[in-house]
């Protein structure tokens, strides 16, 4: 078949021209949206869903717990609120819905790793083994493992637990540390596993266990909520070093950097100390723990300049 001479051929087939134009416009449109999320899969997911999923704890007083009106409240929740504001600004959204998803010591890492939650705002210790699966924002609190017992039990250090029963919460660093200490010191101690802090408290109250081991601030929180706080005591040397931090997904440095920007800003401006004072000096739950030297140093050394 003879070809039409060049001067008579159209510039491009009309359908192909229309299709190419549509593709180019579409690419420009979507890349404009992705420009807000950058290369962050977490931010892209948040922008697409229009929702930020926050993992919270139910009884980690005063970091993340269910308050009097059945909503999650706490020190970590307030800090995550600041982060959410920054996310909304970064993605330039008019409104960003926040959904709270309860997690436990066992489920927090799997839920973060598989994308069900975008951040975990609780009382999670930052350690290097966990960093194989998740990433952490700057340290927000420093604590360690101590022992809760009745004031008349005579238990002051872990060695006093010889021949007694201690309860430990499943999935916590405290469980590992106390079991290791018991092995190392060669003590004869019965260990009872409980599901969470409130069950540990119930076991102590009903005299099933003689002591409950957990982070000292959480123990103070449990005591402050009881009907007779004077009957209980938190004793012992620090058995572990536990820095708390907000958890975010791994392999997402843009999202993590955004979090670091937020925290550096809070620490530079002194707002971090104010939020701390709101919950700890004393807090609504009756805990009175003034800002320790270690934590003040942590806040100032993490207050990175712009």
């Amino acid at each position: 078949m003879p070809m039409t001479p060049r001067h008579a051929r159209p510039i491009a087939h009309p359908i192909i021209l229309a299709a190419t134009t549509t593709v180019l416009i579409g690419a420009a449109w979507s890349s404009a949206a992705l420009a807000d999320a950058g290369d962050s899969p977490t931010l892209a997911r948040i922008a697409e869903r229009g929702v930020v999923n926050i993992g919270h704890r139910e009884t980690s007083i005063p970091f993340s717990y269910i308050g009097d009106d059945n909503e999650p409240v706490g020190y970590s929740i307030d800090l995550c609120g600041k982060f959410v504001e920054a996310i909304q600004a970064e993605l330039e959204l008019d409104s960003l819905e926040v959904k709270y998803i309860p997690v436990t010591g066992q489920t927090r890492i799997p839920l973060l790793a598989n994308g069900t939650i975008d951040m975990e705002c609780g009382s999670t210790t930052n350690n290097l083994t966990r960093q194989k699966q998740v990433e952490y924002l700057p340290t927000t609190f420093i604590t360690g493992t101590k022992i809760l017992s009745r004031a008349d039990s005579g238990i002051t250090e872990i060695e006093d637990l010889e021949g007694k029963v201690i309860g430990l919460s499943a999935g916590t660093t405290n469980e590992k540390v106390i079991k290791a200490a018991i092995d190392e010191l060669g003590l004869d101690v019965d260990v009872v596993t409980v599901k969470d802090h409130s069950q540990g408290w119930l076991s102590l109250e009903t005299d099933r266990i003689d002591a409950y081991g957990s982070d000292d601030v959480l123990l103070y929180g449990l005591v402050s909520r009881s009907s007779d706080p004077a009957d209980y005591q938190v004793t012992g040397r620090y058995l572990s070093f536990d820095p708390y931090a907000i958890m975010v997904p791994r392999n997402d440095s843009t999202f993590e950097r955004l979090g670091r920007v937020v925290f550096a800003g809070l620490m530079r401006s002194g707002e971090m100390a104010e939020i701390y004072a709101q919950w700890f000096e004393p807090g609504p739950t009756g805990i009175d723990m003034p800002l320790s030297d270690d934590l003040a140093a942590a806040f100032s050394s993490q207050a990175l300049p712009e």
């Binding site: 010591g105 066992q106 890492i109 799997p110 790793a113 598989n114 994308g115 083994t129 966990r130 194989k132 699966q133 029963v165 499943a170 999935g171 916590t172 469980e175 590992k176 009872v192 596993t193 409980v194 599901k195 119930l202 009903t206 005299d207 099933r208 997904p249 791994r250 392999n251 997402d252």
Partner: protein, 240 residues
Amino acid sequence: MNYNWDWGILFRDPYAGWILAGLGWTLALSLLAWTIAFSLGTLLGIFRTSSSALLRGIGTVYVELFRNIPLLVQLFLWYFVFPELLPDEAGRWVKRDMPYPAFTTAFIAIGLYTASRVCEQVRSGIEAVGVGQRQAGRAIGMTEPQVFRHVLLPNAFRIVIPPLTSEFLTIFKNSSLALTIGVVELTAMTRQIEEYTFQGFEAFTAATIVYSTVTFTVMLLMRVVERRTALPGTLSAAKA
């Protein structure tokens, strides 16, 4: 998904040992609970179909009470509430000095709960044998216990082997609820592996495979039982 897989963790010491220890506790818990469930359930099934109104009443009250409260709530009540209702000495013994307090509470609670379900199955088996057989037995001079022993129960059990197998399998799965009161059975061990290694997905896959293997074995065993005990010419003669 941001996750670092490491399947070798399951075969490394001490994690492999934990899985086996957990499996041991699960089997012990399930078998002891089944012993209670089967014996008590059969007794209650007989009660519910007996001619004595008193025995029928006892059976009905038991079943309605234990069947309508969720198992998790029952475990909680037996573990935390029951010892408080006992006199001080007895309560303290139950909470502290009883051998394996959490394990004992767990298998008794699960056994009692499952007994209410086994009772219903045995009762339907006995009723399926038919009122004619029962009356015939009485007519030739058997006492009621003899009618149950020689006519009703042998037929009833053969009829209800399939639903009893389901109950037996369910008990293996319900045993995982015992972890909420501190029994370190298989699911609890899996969670412990997750908290020490943060390789949760591998650990739970291992638990799934182990549970499935156990229940599959039980199912094959019950099928052999069904075939061996089938009476020639009855509906339960499983040719399949």
